[in-house]
Point group: D2
Chain length 299, copies 4
């Protein structure tokens, strides 16, 4: 990547050497917050921001996200993880302790339509989206120039349903080689197999160009036009094996009127898609999202 | 109705003695605007506001709404209609010439949930919704007090699917007696028969408590909750014989988050429903809506 | 008040017998969350929802809102307060422990324009706004009928700047007699004296009919019209002695276009004002608002 | 410019050979629409879309925008202009007849912050913004690479208030040489002199990074932060000699909360600025904007 972007990332890492985030979900019961905060305090960690939510005080599920500053976090992180694992067992927790210093590695998949990719690249180079964009994979070549202009590796892997298996093998290989934390489908118009999806649970974010569950599947703008809707929308969600049925992260809409034909809907829709995907990606990068029962809690 | 509301209506009529509106749709061809505006000018009418739209310059459909001031409109209206009918034949027009002085007569149908009814009554008494609310019909009694407090006739007609035919006969009788121009289903939870609907084409406005076409049918908030959507919506539309499939007039949404349970969604949704229905009703009362191909043009 | 509203309130109290809320702000330092959560746990309280925020990890201010279920809260509340006071001293906390069972007593002040009052009454009677609306005070009589129809005491206290002192004395007397927790200025067009304001710090919510700080002061819609803005807004804020300068709680806007004259702006604006005020009031009633440095933290 | 963009423009020109737009404002009186539409019909022009508005039926101002298809427009345009000029005299019209084929020439001025420029370039290359971006002028070099990558001439003209006169002379020279129709200040942080502004009336569009008239002048995000607003906005307007006081074309806002510091406000604001400026520019390019009394009518 370009050196000024590298500098931005390095500055961010410098600034966040001691910044950690803890995400927890578990069966609700009294004493969880007390236990977690005592644990953090025992490591001299100062809680900067925390959000908590319970589905139901009795027999429900408890969720918390804590962002904290902890002196010498880099040195202590491994030990903290070990200790927290003990405590987590007691409360039957699913949990994740992340070190903000470890900027997440991202792969972007794209087809011919570039607006979502370009939005991400743009926010990225302006420092508004903190990630290490490690590579872009496309079944077309349209994106090549814009991607390589930023010194990001671009992989052209033609795809269609007949060679899907082979294609995904190559893709998974790259995902592994680059140690990717997050895959973004930025209008990548191919369906992924269960093998690919299950290898990356809650790690693939897709943008669907409609207000789900309206217009699930193909050609949503055409169908929105036919129905005569007055708002068009976009939905970003984690990918599961049920098409367009994964946990919704973010949605937004834009107003349209009778003058808009299908092309206008697409143009207007592009700007909704761009911002909806970018917001979802940022929240994921900031460890703000917990998935529960095919829904997201966004803290 | 209460005397201060009567006064508001009378003032409005006084002010709009010479105000007319012309709505036209027809196959597109050159010369339509010229012909219509010449016609209006020949009656000394001054065009105040006009909006026009064509689906396609070649072989498409032409739509126009014109609001005009015409001296002595009251006296001339009948003659103008006759003359315009001639001209309309030539261009194969569907058209409607309304005299704003003739405030529209409205019937509101409601069940137990009163928020949409109350919004309409409220905007009405504050002068923000210009109509003659002639009666309210309900299959329950919850609305009785609020309606009668404004001296509006309230008809309690219990309904269920076994007696639907008899119920609709009574309702249609009232609609006829009161010479109703517009029926508003303000969360009236009964399905209307094809007989009732076809007797009132594009004259029945319904509010559906979801962002159509998502969550067509019953229990939309429950289903929105289950799907984990991040926005909930409401849709006002003309009623046709296909459930929730009529031409959409207006839609809007409100943002929700993971903390909202079904009850919260309903509460938040109420305020969206209220404003979406009120806007649709106002546009209808102002003759702003043309229906074409199961879609609306809203000028 | 009407009996069905009383029933709603009683049901709510029943349901929230053991529900408490703790609001704290203090200089930031490690260990605060740990201390608070340990305290709650020691009383068998289960944290249902918590939100925390720090202006700055080093030398900043710490804010937290915790909602919890605590067995036998009613009996224990006094003792808990005493104990927490000790702990609060240590950390130099400003704090507030509320028992949700104690539904807040509210006074609404209104002039001639009733839309904001009616919105509040409406959400209230439909159970969407949980408060004990103890009285309405107005310098006009327009609101009398709607208020008394709900069996709420209505006090007509004519006001103008010459008799302001006497008027406020009466008003303060009523506020005291009714043990009012929150005063809502629902388009009450009189300026309050420093005496009145300082007697009710962060307990008076006003709705200003513009997007502050645009159009501070009188006639905001007229000035918005003159400036040709494309959006009009409304702002709810706590009242301080600087006109329209108090901490902003909530703002929203509505789109307008060139066709809107001053009257249209007012009509459109009314519905923004209504919802902005209602949201601010609900957040206050739910103890979601902390004030710091003339700003609000809304959890 | 790049060849694929040239191709897009050429396709557009091909498609719009016979497409014209007529903008008129004049003192209101009966017969204007009739006269104009008769004129168009006499040239076999078919009206595709028209919007009309009068400030006041009696003694007000009349505005109309008509988009039409006219066979052989290219050949007839000059003659039509001559004829319309006659007719315009009669009605005291200000008017503008544009041929859509003549794609507008645009100059973009920018400083260091590139988000608004990049948005425009982006929508432009994806075919969503139909213009001939002839050059970019900047007092800094940050934009150079992105601009030249699209084969657009980039002029680096350092500026400060001491050399303003000389700088503007160079800029005006370029504007003249390139026959510029529209100047876009895409976060160009220099104040223009009355000489420059009066040479380009209603031809300079600026983006101001606040919801005007709130936070006129410098450092709007800092001041928004200090005031604790809950929404931040952006405003695009034509430039006049009164700073930030020109006719507003478009405004929009984004919601923010207590967690946003000045930097976050800036980041969130960027995306509002981008879309608000892009919309204003598109409306201008489509001849949708009429200016009257320091306000805009946007059809």
């Amino acid at each position: 990547m370009k050196s000024y972007i590298k500098n931005q990332i390095n500055e961010f890492k410098e600034k966040n050497q001691n910044r950690g985030r803890l995400l927890v979900s578990c069966p609700d019961q009294p004493g969880i917050v007390s236990t977690i905060s005592k644990f953090l305090y025992s490591h001299q960690a100062n809680i900067i921001e925390s959000s908590q939510y319970s589905t139901n005080p009795e027999g429900g599920t408890f969720f918390i996200r804590i962002e904290f500053e902890c002196p010498n976090l880099k040195e202590k992180a491994a030990e903290m993880e070990l200790q927290f694992a003990e405590l987590a067992k007691e409360f039957n927790m699913e949990w994740n302790l992340t070190h903000v210093y470890n900027v997440k590695k991202v792969a972007i998949f794209v087809s011919k339509e570039l607006h979502c990719l370009l939005e991400l690249l743009w926010e990225w180079q302006s420092g508004d989206l903190m990630a290490d964009i490690a590579l872009v994979i496309s079944n077309h070549v349209e994106a090549k120039e814009a991607v390589e202009a930023l010194n990001i590796p671009f992989y052209h892997i033609p795809a269609n349903k007949d060679i899907r298996e082979q294609v995904e093998k190559e893709q998974l290989q790259l995902v592994e080689t680059y140690k990717i934390d997050l895959i973004i489908l930025a209008r990548y118009m191919q369906i992924l197999t269960p093998t690919f999806v299950s290898a990356n649970p809650n790690k693939i974010i897709n943008i669907h160009h409609s207000f789900l569950p309206a217009f699930i599947g193909a050609r949503p703008y055409e169908r929105a036009y036919d129905r005569g809707v007055k708002l068009i929308g976009a939905t970003s969600h984690y990918v599961t094996n049920d098409l367009d049925e994964g946990p919704i992260i973010e949605q937004d809409i834009s107003r349209v009127d009778h003058r808009a034909n299908v092309d206008s809907l697409k143009k207007i829709g592009r700007s909704v898609e761009r911002s909806v995907l970018a917001r979802a990606v940022k929240w994921h990068l900031e460890d703000r999202i917990l998935v529960h029962d095919n829904k997201t809690i966004v803290f």
